[in-house]
Amino acid sequence: MITEDITNKKVLSKGNYAIAKASILAGCDCYFGYPITPQSEIGEYMSGKMQELGRAYVSAESELAAISMTLGACSTGVKAMTSSSSCAVALMQETLSYATADELPLVLISVMRGGPGLGNIYPSQGDYFQATKGGGNGDYKLIVLAPSNVQECVDLTYKAFHLAHKYRNPTVLLADGLLGQMMEPVEFKPYPYAEIDNSDWALTGAKNRKSRVIRSYAPLADNQCKFVEKLFEKYKTIEENETEWEEMGTEDADIILVSFGSTSRNVKTAMKLCREKGLKVGFFRPITLFPFPNKRLNELASKVKKFITVEVNMGQMINDVKLAVNGKASVELIHKAVGAPPSPEEIQSQVEELI
């Protein structure tokens, strides 16, 4: 039992340290990682704390090794995680596909930086597609949670461990360099979720029971078909139960600004600036990127004229908003390729241009 980080008062914490501490409080037994800016503080913190607590920390020889070790650890039923960033998360895609097929509760912290390629270390939201659509093979979904402040870095890290184990599905916490590097007051409450029994599937050594095999290989065509269909039934359950979003000023809005993660902070302020000018603008923030709040956006589309997505990429989430809206309202984009999000004032003036 760790108590030292649990406190009823707020402490000032960097996003990356908040994620690391929350992972430990969530009961993470094993961390495997390979350093990359802007998330290296996660591995740094884990390297000291995990050993102190008698848990496993491995500085892997590569990102491929790190996530493969995580997959291996997860198969034994323990809580295991890795963390990385953009171009290095790209290297992990194969194992993410395998982990969905193996139905393993792998937790990946993805702290986005500029891309494509090596890019740069500044914030970005260019990996929305990477996280929600994936680069691994086959039909699969990752659960994706997008924090917008340091407190949510804690709360959604807890949730990532919970959902990964509840649904036996890899889960991504999608943060970015801005959230990873900033400090904000934060409260570390105890892990709020009940532990999930995994004694019916974990590979714990076949003593006094039949042996078990976890694999992502179905040589007979029919088996694979049934398996993928079953996976998608699970995804449907996740959509029904776990979709989460924040909305503000949507009741009477003509226009709704849609944004996720750190960018949504500036978008919320821009929405307030628009309101001060008498424009009926609302704010919508998907917190779960998968499951995406399709149903709610579609409901809102019956009442509003226009959605504007605001993203720090060339326009990725806009595709999901268009699918959700399904032609009921127009969908436009305000964006910037890489870097800190556009300022509230810039967003506001671009909104006025688009009206």
Binding site: M182, E184, N266, A340, S343
Partner: protein
Amino acid sequence: MEKNFIIAGFGGQGVLLAGEVLATAFMLANKNVTWYPSYGAEMRGGTVNCEIVASDEEVSAVNKHDTDFIVALNQASFDKFLSKIKKGGYMIANSTLAKEIKTRADINYVFAPITKLAEELGNVKMANILALGVLAKASKAISLEQLSEALDSVLPAHRKNLLPLNLKALKIGYEYDLLPV
């Protein structure tokens, strides 16, 4: 009410730590606060800065285009951030390392020989904390008590022996006679 601050200087002058102390003081004063560092290919001797935004409501944004208070610990920071200060805002400059030139009539200038005062105290490394004292006095945005409490909370256990000297630096900065500007 929202105020934002940039603390800037050479790498090694402790501007990130000074920012952390300031942000902690706002947190202890029950404000919402965000601290955001310049990060990139930074190195010792290069320039470094951090931005602190403190608000009674949700923090509106970081990376703001303009700022209420700049603390410039060297000439390069003075030059870089002068144009970012809001009308009526403050340039709080270390006159040991920055020239006392007032090119803008629409802002307030506070010049204090921060490095020299820290040297007189016996440790030039105290310049960052001493600057916070000057900032507290000039800005009236945070009290000496809240900054002292924040220092106590930021210093790790194995550095607590440095607390008295830091508190002294803070006080010297706060009590420095600000010339009419």
